[in-house]
């Protein structure tokens, strides 16, 4: 997966969807995914993609990046659907799975592209119990450094003429782990002496905006229409 493309675009772009609160987007996404699992009609499943198509057009999400990021999941979905056909699954059911897969992927990628990952992750972490939230924040904090360090170590190895085979990657994994451990341990100790107890507090209180209301309304409308078409 090309996660850097999502991270960069979600952090640098400023669209109307970027102004929708991450919690609102997550709530709407969850409602859409739940409705997708209930809908039994392929057209109903496609109806659920409408707000996300409109959102993607309005936000001018880079379609090239969206397409590249869709290759693996859609390839996997296509392979499973192709395997289903000779086993006698009705074409309508295959169409339903295809429509559900397309809608879910579009919705998830749109939310990922229009929400800075740190905001998305803190919204979720604030719902987690204390220790899991701490681990989630440590994961998020270490992520960017790990990706940078891994890139740097692989580049350095390549410049020395080493091929990044399993043995080299194993050594890099061990090196990264040992190197990051001390700094992360110091960070946790410094947080603890400042009184941190693992509770994640959002940096700003969510204040529903017009964009939040419009996005929620659009999503709920599509869900109502899809459910009316056939559960």
């Amino acid at each position: 997966m090309r996660v850097e493309e999502i991270l960069e675009w979600s952090l640098t772009a400023n669209t109307a969807l970027h102004r929708v609160d991450p919690a609102t987007k997550l709530g709407c996404l969850s409602a859409t995914l739940l409705a997708l699992l209930l809908v039994r009609d392929p057209w109903g499943a496609l109806l659920l993609s409408l707000p996300y198509l409109i959102g993607a057009l309005a936000a001018r999400v880079p379609w090239g990046s969206m397409a590249r990021l869709s290759v693996v999941p859609l390839g996997f979905l296509g392979a499973i659907l192709a395997l289903m056909l000779p086993t006698g699954v009705p074409a309508r059911e295959v169409a339903l799975y295809a429509a559900r897969g397309f809608t879910a992927l579009l919705a998830t990628l749109l939310v990922a592209f229009t929400t800075p990952f740190n905001a998305l992750w803190s919204s979720i972490a604030s719902l987690m119990p204390g220790r899991l939230a701490e681990m989630a924040l440590l994961f998020h904090r270490s992520l960017y450094g790990m990706i940078d360090d891994l890139n740097g170590l692989l580049r350095a190895a390549r410049m020395r003429g080493a091929r990044p085979g399993p043995r080299l990657i194993g050594v890099l994994v061990a090196t990264l782990l040992a190197r990051s451990h001390e700094s992360a341990r110091r960070l946790m100790a410094s947080l603890e002496v400042r009184g941190a107890r693992g509770r994640v507090r959002p940096l700003r209180r969510p204040r529903p905006s017009r964009e939040d209301a419009a996005w929620t309304l659009l999503t709920l409308l599509s869900i109502a229409l899809a459910l009316l078409r056939g559960v």
Partner: protein, 206 residues
């Protein structure tokens, strides 16, 4: 220069299906079971293990960005060996949740993927501990990882077949060999990492 970060391929027994393939009751059941294991893992985890747990989650996710032949690796074998069966659960949950939020595997499948990856961690831990004394840490880590990942490659294909309600035959002859090939890539990586850690921080791999 070839870009280092490229779209990854298939991961080991980590179902990359988008949402909507698996019925709601299955998703709910898997979320429930995964939630119980994660809660137990968090409850039983000593506080000093939070740091390596968070780091391993970050490392596992970062390593998914590196394509190796047709695949990317998950480090589930290494996570299991280093953290043990219970503490592995919250780690693989966080990694799968982050993947789901970025469109890499469905969000409704996070429960199922967590259970699959956790079973890999737990299996690798058990086999590693059984073999380490007899054949040494490096070989034990490689054999444990390959055996467990190959087994879950069978299980994952059976699960996919079960949830779509069809014969597992097609899935076993197409998905499973590709996952077993990926297991053959991940096993030497885990073995090499464990050997390096045995030299750097031997207490971690005991």
């Amino acid at each position: 220069m070839v870009p280092i970060i490229e779209p990854g391929g298939r991961a080991i027994a980590h179902v990359h299906l988008p949402d909507g393939m698996i019925p709601l009751r299955w998703c709910a059941l898997c979320y429930g079971l995964a939630g119980s294991v994660v809660a137990l893992g968090i409850y039983k985890m000593p506080r000093e293990r939070l740091v390596p747990a968070g780091l391993l989650a970050g490392l596992s996710f970062a390593l998914m960005q590196v394509p190796i032949l047709h695949a990317h690796i998950n480090l589930t074998g290494l996570i299991g060996i280093l953290m043990g069966p219970l503490a592995s659960a919250p780690i693989v949950f966080l990694v799968n949740l982050a993947c789901g939020l970025l469109g890499h595997g469905g969000i409704t499948l996070v429960g199922l993927n967590t259970l699959l990856n956790w079973s890999e961690c737990a299996g690798a831990w058990a086999l590693y501990r059984a073999l380490r004394g007899a054949i040494g840490a490096r070989l034990a880590a490689g054999i444990a990882t390959f055996t467990v990942l190959s087994t879950t490659a069978l299980v994952a294909a059976l699960i996919v077949a079960r949830v779509v309600g069809r014969s597992p035959y097609y899935f076993l002859i197409t998905l499973t060999p590709s996952w077993i090939l990926t297991a053959a890539i991940e096993a030497p990586i885990t073995a090499s990492a464990v050997a390096a850690l045995e030299r750097m921080t031997p207490e971690w791999v005991r």
